[in-house]
Amino acid sequence: MNMKDLVALGDRLLDIDEAKFRQVVGLLEQMGDHPDIRQTISAIRPRLVELRPNRQPTLKRLFCNPFEDLFEALGRADPMPLNVIERSLMNGLWPLVEAQIGNERLGRYRAALQDGPERWALTHAFWADCATAVSAIADGEVPGLRMTPARMRALADIAIILSIAPEVAELKAALAPRPVPKLHADHIEAIEAIGRRVSRNRPAALKNFIILAASRLTDPSVLLGGLWDMDLGQKSTDRAALFMALSGTVVAQIEDRSRAFQSASGAGTDRMAVADLALHLVASLDATRAAMEHSRNKEFDQRLKEVRNSVHGMVRTQVLQDADSGIIAALGALEGGAEERAHLRRAENQARALRKCATFADSLGLRGELRAMTQKATASLTEKAQQALSGPAGNARTGYTAIRMIELIAGPAEANKIMDEIMGGSRR
C-alpha cells in the first residue's frame, strides 16, 4: 500500500477492525513525518487514544510527554484540562526546538528512546535542554508560528513544565491510569511528596504542577477540594495564593463548559446531552463551592452564582420546556408508523433527560417546575395508555409504550401502579 492510498482512507480507518487498524498505524509511522500523514493521524486520533497501540518512540513524542495531559480532550466524556495546550501547536513548535538544540545534540539523545542503562539520565537531560530551548523560543521572535496570547501562555507553560519534567513523570505514574475518578490517600501522599520537591526547587512551577495533577482526574474540581489540606511545603500566604489561582482556573473552566449549550436552540438540542452536562456542572459547582468554604471570596461566589443561574436557565429551556409534547407526539407517530423508531428514540431520550433532572433539580431550585412537568407528562401518558389498553379499539402497543414512557419519567413504582389501575388488578 502506498502513502496516497493510506491517506485516502482517512475517516474510514475509524471503522476497520482492531488488528488492521494497528497494522495501518504501524505503516503510517514507518512513512515518517509528513503533513499528509500528520493529517491522517489527527483524523484517527480518537481511536488511537482508545486503543493505545504501541507507537514508535520519537523525540517529538518524548518532548510532548510531560505536558500531553494538557492537550485538548478528544472525546466528549474525556476530562477537559484546566490550561489547554493546542495539539496542533506541536507541529510548528517541534522543528523550532530541534533547530534550537541542534542535530548533533539531538542525535545523542536518541538513545533515550530505547531501553538502556543511560535512558533516564538522557531523558532528563533532553527535557532540560528542551525547557531551555522553549524558553528561548518564547522570549524571542517566533518565525513561522502565528502567535496569539493563548499560544504565548502555552509556550511559557511548556517551558515551565519541561523544567520539572522528571517530577511530572513521577506524578503521572502515581496518578495512573488516567482519568482517576477519586483521590485516595496514596494519591494525595504522592502529590504532596512530589509537590514539596517542586516547591523547594522551582516554586514558580508549583501551579503548573497542580494543574497537571488536576488534569489527570475525571473532574479537576476534585483536587480543589483536597488542595487546602495538602502540605506542599509553602508558606500559608503562598498556599492561599495557589489555591486562589487554581480556583480561578477551575471556575473559568466551569464557566466555559456551561456555555457549551447556551447558544443551542431548544427544539433541536439533544436533551439527554444537556441533562448530562448539567449533572456534571452541578457536581463541579458543588465540589468547588465546598472547597471555597476555606477562603470565602466574593468574586468567585458571584461567578459561581452566575454559572448556577445559567445552568438553571439551560435546564429549564432545553430540558423541561415542552418535554411532554415531544413525548406524546412520538406515541402519535407510533400509530401512524412513520419513522417510528427515530421518533420513539428521541422521545425516550427526552423522558430519560427529565428523570435525570431529578438528581440535581434541588440544587438548581427547579424542583417545583420539574414536578409540574413530570405530573403533566404522566397525566397525558396515563390517559393515552388508558384509551389504548382498556378501550375496545385501542392499540395495545401504544398503550404499553405510554406506560414505558411513564416508567422512564416517573420510575417503575409509579408506572406499575398506573398499569395495575388500568388492568384493574388483573395482572396478578
Partner: protein, 367 residues
C-alpha cells in the same frame, strides 16, 4: 442464604433457567421449581456479597422493585406450563414484543419469532426429504412443484405413503414421528442445513466468546483478568459438552432410517439430548452480547462487564462436568473483592435507569 460452594447445583433443573429481566439486580437470575413444584428464583451476589438468595416467585415483586416489563414477564412465566429454557424463552419474547422494553426489543423479538417460523418450515421439509432419502425415494419433484403448492402437497403425500409402506408404518404414524422430530430439532436444525438454527449459532458464538475472552485476559494485568480466564474456561467446557451432544444428535439424524425404525428406543434419547443442549447453552446469549458490547469499549467497562458475566455465568452442574466449577468460582470470589457497587443509582438509591438502558440495548440485539 448459602455459599456458592454449598449451593453448587447437581442438575440443570436445580440450576434453573435464566430469565432476561431488565431490572439490573435481577438480570439473568434463574428460575426453577421447588420441592412443592412452586416456582422460585435464585438471586446471586446480592449487594456484592457471597452466596445466592432463594426467593419464592410470587414474592419477587415485593422483594425487588421491578420494571414494568419485568412485572409482565413475571406474570407470563407464572402462567406458563413449566420453567424450561424453552418455556422461559417463549415468555421473554412475548413480553419483549409488547414494547415495554423499548422498540429495539420489539424488533428483535419479532425477528426471533419470524426466524423460528422459518426454521420450523425448513426443518419439516428437510425431515421429509431425509425420510424419503432413507427409503430410496427422490424428493426433487416436490421441490420443483413447490412445497406450498397443491401439486407439491399431493406429491409429498404420495411419496410419504410409499415411504411409510417401505418402513412398514402407517402414513399417519410416519407423519407423527416427523412432526415430533421437527419440534424437537427446531432450535438445533440439521448439520446439512443451509441456515444454522438458533442453538448451532449460539454454540458458534460461544466459541467466539471463549476466544475473545482468552485474548483479552492474556497479558492483562487487571484484577478482572483471572475472572476472565475462568469465564473462558467455563465457556470452553460448555462448548465441549454441547459439541458432544450435538454430535450425538447429528449422528442419530444421519442414520435416519434406523431412527424411524427404532423410534421407541431412539425417541427418548433424541428428546433428552435436545433438552440437554438447550439447558447447556441457556443463559449464554445475553453474556455473549454483553461481552461483544464491552469489547469495543474502554478497559474499565470491560472489567465491569467481566464481573457482571461472572455474577451470572452458567456453571455446569456437578453431574455434568468433571471439574467442580462452583468450587473454582468460590475460590475466585475470595481473592476478588470489589468495593460496594449496588445496582442502583448512587445519587438517589433508585433504579439505575442507565443500567436498565444498557440491558435493553443488549436485549435489542438478541435474536
Amino acid at each position: 442464604m448459602r455459599s456458592l460452594t454449598n449451593f453448587a447445583p447437581s442438575t440443570f433443573e436445580e440450576r434453573g433457567a435464566a430469565v432476561a429481566f431488565t431490572t439490573p439486580v435481577l438480570a439473568q437470575t434463574r428460575v426453577r421449581k421447588d420441592s412443592r413444584d412452586q416456582l422460585e428464583v435464585l438471586v446471586p451476589n446480592l449487594s456484592e456479597g457471597r452466596g445466592v438468595y432463594v426467593v419464592p416467585w410470587k414474592s419477587l415483586p415485593l422483594a425487588f422493585p421491578m420494571t414494568v416489563h419485568d412485572r409482565m414477564l413475571h406474570d407470563l412465566i407464572a402462567r406458563a406450563d413449566g420453567c424450561s429454557p424453552d418455556n422461559i424463552r417463549k415468555a421473554v419474547l412475548e413480553a419483549a414484543r409488547c414494547g415495554l422494553a423499548g422498540a429495539d426489543a420489539v424488533t428483535a423479538a419479532e425477528a426471533a419469532l419470524r426466524d423460528d417460523d422459518e426454521q420450523r418450515l425448513l426443518i419439516n421439509y428437510q425431515l421429509i426429504v431425509e425420510a424419503l432419502k432413507a427409503v430410496g425415494l427422490e424428493s426433487t419433484d416436490i421441490l420443483r412443484a413447490g412445497l406450498g403448492s397443491d401439486e407439491g402437497q399431493r406429491l409429498t403425500r404420495d411419496l410419504m405413503t410409499r415411504a411409510a409402506q417401505r418402513l412398514s408404518l402407517e402414513p399417519t404414524e410416519l407423519y407423527g414421528r416427523i412432526a415430533e422430530l421437527a419440534v424437537l430439532m427446531e432450535p438445533i436444525g440439521l448439520a446439512s442445513s443451509p441456515r444454522p438454527a438458533r442453538l448451532r449459532r449460539l454454540m458458534r458464538d460461544l466459541l467466539g466468546f471463549r476466544d475473545s475472552m482468552t485474548d483479552w485476559a492474556t497479558d492483562n494485568v487487571s484484577e478482572a483478568a483471572p475472572i476472565g480466564v475462568f469465564c473462558a474456561e467455563v465457556a470452553e467446557h460448555t462448548v465441549n459438552h454441547a459439541r458432544n451432544v450435538m454430535g450425538q444428535l447429528d449422528q442419530a439424524m444421519a442414520a435416519f432410517e434406523m431412527l424411524l425404525r427404532q423410534w421407541e428406543t431412539k425417541r427418548p434419547q433424541i428428546r433428552k439430548a435436545a433438552s440437554r443442549l438447550s439447558w447447556l447453552l441457556d443463559g449464554w446469549e445475553y453474556l455473549i452480547l454483553l461481552w461483544g458490547d464491552a469489547v469495543a469499549q474502554d478497559r474499565h467497562t470491560q472489567d465491569m462487564a467481566v464481573h457482571d458475566i461472572f455474577r451470572v455465568i452458567p456453571l455446569l452442574p456437578k453431574d455434568e462436568g468433571r471439574n467442580d466449577q462452583a468450587m473454582l468460582a468460590d475460590k475466585l470470589t475470595t481473592s476478588q473483592r470489589r468495593s460496594v457497587r449496588a445496582y442502583v443509582d448512587w445519587r438517589s438509591g433508585q433504579l439505575d435507569v442507565d443500567l436498565v438502558m444498557r440491558i435493553e440495548t443488549i436485549k435489542g440485539k438478541a435474536a
